[in-house]
């Protein structure tokens, strides 16, 4: 997502992991961790000009 935002023209792309996110079911959480799944917060700007 981070790369997609930059490639699409957004600037000042920032991301941070959402600390409280996890799946309720342990089995789902374990599978998610195996795939490196996490929740992130992203912010970005559309340039004012150009």
């Amino acid at each position: 997502m981070f790369a997609l935002l930059e490639e699409s023209g957004f600037t000042r792309v920032r991301s941070a992991v959402v600390p409280g996110f996890r799946f309720r079911k342990t089995s789902t959480q374990n599978s998610a961790e195996a795939y490196g799944v996490k929740a992130v917060m992203m912010t970005a700007l559309k340039p004012a000009t150009g």
């Binding site: 997609l4 957004f10 959402v18 996110f21 195996a34 799944v37 917060m41 992203m42």
Partner: protein
């Protein structure tokens, strides 16, 4: 259309139905347990202010199915126009509407017209009107360069065409506009068995 494009189109259609079904289920039966946290429990986990939750309609809070808090860094200002992609039962739109005030505007977009109706009813109940448009995040039903801020919470990951979604967000934002989204990302390529299973993908 190539065979691969046919397969993708077919999977997308099935996925769309599964997404509508799953999030309708959360809204219709919020007391049910899902494999993800939802409702007030989830919102509190992500740092939603107690006053936001106490003052929003109970149905909007109970149906909340986000993965984070896009308001934490949205820096909404009075008078701004906000677009909420995948507005669901309306909690994030209601919070945004309070921030932008009566001179601002909040537009929600949701695949499911029934959820749009519910979001608008919740917003009206809270005294913070919003407009919800039925549509896809890959073809946002909003004019070019017309919104100040895009927010979204746990929705973009559900799309097979994320690049298209990002391009659409860029299109609808005014020059100098910004986005504040929370979503699920994966460090590894998901296996084909997950990609081909709408129930897993939708969750």
């Amino acid at each position: 259309m190539s065979d691969a494009a046919d397969v993708q189109a077919s999977l997308e259609a099935v996925l769309k139905d599964e997404i509508v079904r799953m999030y309708q289920e959360v809204a219709d039966n919020p007391r049910q347990e899902f494999h993800f946290y939802h409702g007030r429990e989830a919102a509190e986990r992500f740092g939603y202010a107690r006053e936001w939750l106490d003052s929003a309609p109970a149905g909007a809070v109970a149906s909340f199915a986000g993965v984070g808090n896009p308001h934490e860094r949205s820096d909404l200002r009075p008078g701004e126009t906000v677009l909420d992609l995948g507005s669901g039962a309306g909690l994030d739109a209601i919070i945004a509407a309070r921030a932008v005030g009566p001179k601002g505007k909040v537009i929600g977009v949701d695949l499911n017209p029934s959820m749009c109706g519910r979001a608008q009813a919740h917003a009206a109940e809270s005294g913070t009107p919003m407009e919800c448009r039925k549509g896809r995040i890959e073809d946002i039903p909003v004019a070019d360069s017309s919104v100040d801020v895009v927010i979204s919470n746990g929705v973009i990951n559900l799309s097979f065409r994320k690049r298209r979604v990002v391009q659409e967000m860029f299109r609808v934002l005014k020059p100098g506009g910004r986005l504040s989204i929370t979503d699920i990302v994966s460090a590894k390529q998901l296996s084909q068995s997950i990609v081909n299973d709408p129930k897993l993908w939708a969750s």
